[in-house]
């Protein structure tokens, strides 16, 4: 287990970070969703109705911050040097004016658009990882995040038809997902909750008994695809061994307790208690034992209830993504902005490419100290664009953000604005000529 890393963080260093590295222009372009005033169909008020919130040093918390343009956003952040920047929804009116509109019961100040977001946190997997606990992560348990990204990303695209999806490292122990299609931003709370529930498999906690229950003669296509394409291989080829899931009595008892048929569990227990003495060093003990387990469970000999999907249930229990339901369900839930620096680790919240997420290594994500050192070493060699981050490790992260996310998104947004503008023109023409 790798102990929690030395914090590469110092609040004083945020000033040069915001001064030279934080990509304000990119965040602004993202948040305007095409409403930059260049097209007559643009909504000039759109950006100004978005809530930002800042956590300042000393744990002061500023909510309902809003800005009319990129410069205001940039100046405010540079001046306040927030430890954390959160992004909230777009409201009906400028959040700064909310008190004027919240009259009694008919609340006219309400969220109208908000990205569909997901938050996946390694601490929710503490009962299935033995290498770390709590806020620690290492390369042995990080695959759990990789699995989550693959399963959810594929489903968001194939099942729900979303295209503009941004995955971000949370800076310490998890990942965030921002779904930015117009359709996603306009989802109601109920619809968001339904998507979160669609993704929910693990239910319960220490008080409940069975946490993964896959009934029915077949798995829903989404679960079946996830199992075949992602979960099975990650479980059998990576996690079984890296987590030593069956190597010791304590660990294999946990899996045996998930088998509803006591005779099978006893048979396995018998085999494994003996084999400790006669282990062949050739094959990994976890792999061997899992094969034995599968054989018994899938032999069809025992027709006990609840046995049919036992293998899948075990695999799902150890691998399937665990989302924080509350984050996704409400439009007004705030979420940390990409490119913030995590105060406990000093790491930057960089985007993760879902197509290359196998290669993502949380232990090599650029830190605040590292970046500032790189800046110093660059010296006076100014970049052609004037963008200082180009010479640093942050360059790759920002390039990824632009090419794989921001540019396609902007293109789609502009097209949407133009389309709905033309539609409105057409409608008003039609209504005139009756």
């Amino acid at each position: 287990m790798i102990p929690q890393q030395q914090s590469d963080f110092d609040h004083n260093y945020l000033k040069p970070y915001y001064g030279k590295l934080f990509p304000f222009a990119d965040i602004f372009k993202w948040m305007t969703y095409g409403h930059d005033g260049k097209h007559p169909g643009c909504d000039q008020s759109y950006f100004g109705r978005r809530e930002f919130s800042f956590t300042l040093k000393g744990d002061f918390y500023l909510r309902f911050q809003s800005f009319n343009n990129a410069l205001e956003l940039e100046n405010s952040i540079k001046e306040k040097c927030p430890l954390k920047i959160d992004i909230g929804p777009v409201y009906t009116v400028d959040p700064a004016k909310r008190h004027a509109y919240a009259q009694g019961d008919n609340n006219v100040f309400a969220p109208v658009e908000r990205e569909l977001i997901f938050d996946i946190d390694m601490t929710d997997y503490d009962d299935v990882r033995y290498c770390c606990r709590g806020a620690d992560v290492c390369l042995n348990c990080w695959p759990l995040m990789t699995i989550a990204i693959k399963v959810i990303d594929a489903s968001l695209r194939d099942d729900f038809g979303f295209n503009h999806i941004l995955w971000v490292y949370s800076g310490r122990r998890g990942v965030h997902c921002w779904v930015c299609d117009g359709k996603a931003r306009r989802l109601t709370n109920e619809q968001r909750a339904s998507i979160a529930d669609y993704y929910r498999v693990y239910k319960g906690n220490e008080n409940s008994h069975k946490k993964v229950s896959l009934m029915g003669a077949a798995l829903h296509p989404f679960l079946a695809t996830s199992y075949t394409n992602v979960l099975k291989d990650y479980f059998e080829k990576i996690l079984l061994t890296s987590q030593n899931l069956l190597a010791t009595e304590e660990r294999y008892e946990k899996i045996l307790s998930m088998i509803p048929d006591e005779s099978i569990a006893s048979e396995l227990r018998g085999k494994w208690q003996d084999s400790r003495r006669s282990s062949s060093a050739k094959e990994d003990i976890n792999v061997v034992r899992w094969e034995q387990c599968k054989q018994l469970l899938q032999s069809g000999k025992h027709k006990a209830q609840g046995l049919r999907r036992c293998v899948e249930e075990i695999v799902f229990f150890f691998t399937y993504p665990r989302l924080d339901m509350e984050v996704s369900k409400h439009m007004n839930h705030l979420l940390k902005a990409p490119f913030c620096v995590h105060p406990k680790t000093g790491r930057v919240c960089v985007p993760i490419d879902p197509n290359q997420c196998d290669d993502f290594d949380p232990t090599t994500v650029p830190t605040l100290f590292q970046l500032l050192e790189e800046l110093n070493n660059e010296g006076s060699r100014a970049d052609v664009n004037g963008a200082e981050w180009n010479g640093t490790s942050l360059g790759n992260a920002i390039a990824l953000f632009r090419t794989s996310f921001l540019e396609p998104l902007q293109k789609a947004c502009k097209e949407e604005i133009e389309r709905s503008y033309n539609l409105k023109l057409q409608q008003s023409k039609n209504s005139v000529g009756w």
């Binding site: 919240a102 008919n106 909750a193 529930d197 929910r200 693990y202 069975k210 029915g216 665990r322």
Partner: protein, 471 residues
């Protein structure tokens, strides 16, 4: 729709072209009908009886088959009319009158919307296939049936979905509707449909859910509009209506809206006020299991996650714990784990927030059983309804710690197996207090106050039973 007295004719709603309505009206527009003043009130009250009956049935955890029977009965008894031709008119008029009454606040709208949607859903199930198709036509659904070619390409997936629900695979002549997934949130949430590229493939037997969602969204939008119209209407109405009529109608409208929501425990009753020193004792004697569990866990771990803090915190507020005592209570526990400073910094704000002293100053109401049962406690959480969320083993242990005897235990577990969580809690109450609880438990604070009523009868001789919700 016009309200008529023999002499006066006044248009309240703009008239719309008559549309041929299916036997299940969609209440899209108020048709031009004449309504007698007596009927105005009596029709609305009859419909209100139906809606209240549905509300009661739902909060008692009746299963769908039981609800179907109930709705049929309620409708038959209350909504008939001596002239068969008038039945439809009564249906439409009563809906629109109640709409006028219930559009006025967020709480009223929510209740009315829920009950009307439940009513619509069950009535839809009784319709003949032709009548159902007519309703679906009105929602432009029939044109979205999946054609053979597409069906062939997804047949296997559709089969998987069906079998995952214990149903047989669809046959070649099965009808499926392809709709945006946003229109069937229930089916999506339960993974009961195949979804691809943003579309859900809804089976014929699931159409009820689809139609109900569409009905709900339509009604929800119009309720908000009605509110704006009604405000204007009422101004014109009260200024132009004759004195007699005004005195007759306004009280009717007022009475209708305040009568049927039941107590929400936002105002703590006097006799239930508890102080810090009483807490440990009343927790043992009068807390329902869900709160007892949270309380015990808090004492044990000196911590609770957010869901647990909300559920227990608001319950204590409802029971009469004032802000000062609440802060002292939570501080005493939390500071043992996180220290005094961290408590003040991270947790005291939220407690004050719950009492309406911070932020937008909403005075949050304690959670009802329905809300608690439908919560989703995850890893590390202790909130929720133990009858639902605990394994049988853990539930038995918790109940025996509370003092439930073994015979009552079996009755309680039987209710739990049949998913009647509130009835299970009611039986627990009865076992522990040695008395029946006819009303059934709907709210943790109700459990508490009923318990206190039994254990401390002297305090309570003149207390009122029901607190009607204020707008």
């Amino acid at each position: 729709m016009e309200i008529v007295r023999p002499q006066s004719h006044r248009n309240l709603f703009s008239s719309n072209d008559a549309v041929s309505v299916p036997s299940l009206p969609l209440y899209r527009s108020a048709p031009p009908l004449e309504v007698r003043l007596e009927d105005f009130e009596s029709f609305a009250i009859d419909r209100l009886r139906v809606l209240k009956g549905i509300s009661d049935g739902l909060s008692r955890g009746k299963k769908p088959e039981e609800m179907e029977k109930l709705v049929k009965e309620l409708w038959k008894v209350n909504m008939r009319h001596q002239h068969a031709s008038e039945v439809l008119n009564k249906d439409i008029i009563s809906h629109f009158v109640l709409r006028l009454v219930y559009c006025r606040t967020e709480d009223l709208r929510k209740w009315f919307l829920s009950m009307e949607c439940a009513l619509f859903r069950y009535r839809f199930r009784f319709l003949t296939p032709e009548a159902q198709r007519a309703v679906m036509d009105n929602f432009d659904l029939t044109c979205r049936a999946v054609n053979n070619v597409e069906f062939e390409s997804i047949k296997e997936k559709l089969g998987q979905v069906a079998r995952s629900m214990g149903q047989p695979s669809p046959t070649v002549d099965a009808i499926f509707y392809k709709v945006p997934f946003e229109e069937v949130p229930e089916l999506v949430a339960g993974r009961k449909v195949f979804i691809s590229q943003g579309y859900a493939y809804v089976a014929m037997n699931q159409v009820v859910s689809l139609v109900a969602t569409l009905f709900r969204s339509q009604l929800s939008k119009t309720l908000i509009l009605t509110n704006r119209v009604a405000i204007n209407c009422c101004r014109k109405w009260t200024s132009s209506i004759r004195e007699q009529e005004k005195h007759r109608l306004t009280p009717i409208v007022e009475a209708l809206s305040s009568s049927y929501l039941g107590p929400d425990f936002s105002q703590p009753r006097e006799y239930a006020e508890i102080s810090l020193k009483d807490i440990d004792q009343v927790a043992k004697s009068s807390f329902p299991l869900c709160m007892r569990h949270l309380f015990d866990k808090l004492k044990e771990d000196h911590h609770l996650k957010h869901g647990g803090r909300m559920q227990l915190g608001l319950f204590l507020k409802g029971v009469g714990l004032n802000l000062e005592d609440a802060l002292a209570f939570w501080r005493a526990e939390f500071s043992k784990k996180v220290g005094l400073e961290k408590f003040e910094k991270d947790y005291s704000y939220n407690i004050r927030h719950n009492y309406g002293k911070e932020g937008k100053r909403t005075d949050y109401t304690p959670y009802s059983c329905q809300k608690i049962i439908s919560s989703t406690p995850g890893a590390g959480d202790q909130h929720g309804c133990p009858y639902r969320h605990f394994s049988e083993e853990n539930l038995r242990a918790a109940l025996s710690r509370m003092g439930v005897n073994s015979r009552a235990m079996e009755d309680v577990m039987d209710k739990v197996r049949n998913r009647h969580y509130q009835l299970a809690c009611t039986l627990t109450f009865e076992a522990l207090h040695g008395m029946t609880c006819d009303a059934g438990i709907n709210h943790p604070n109700q459990y508490f106050s009923d318990s206190q009523k039994i254990l401390q009868p002297k305090k309570d001789s003149s207390a009122q039973n029901l607190v009607t919700a204020r707008e």
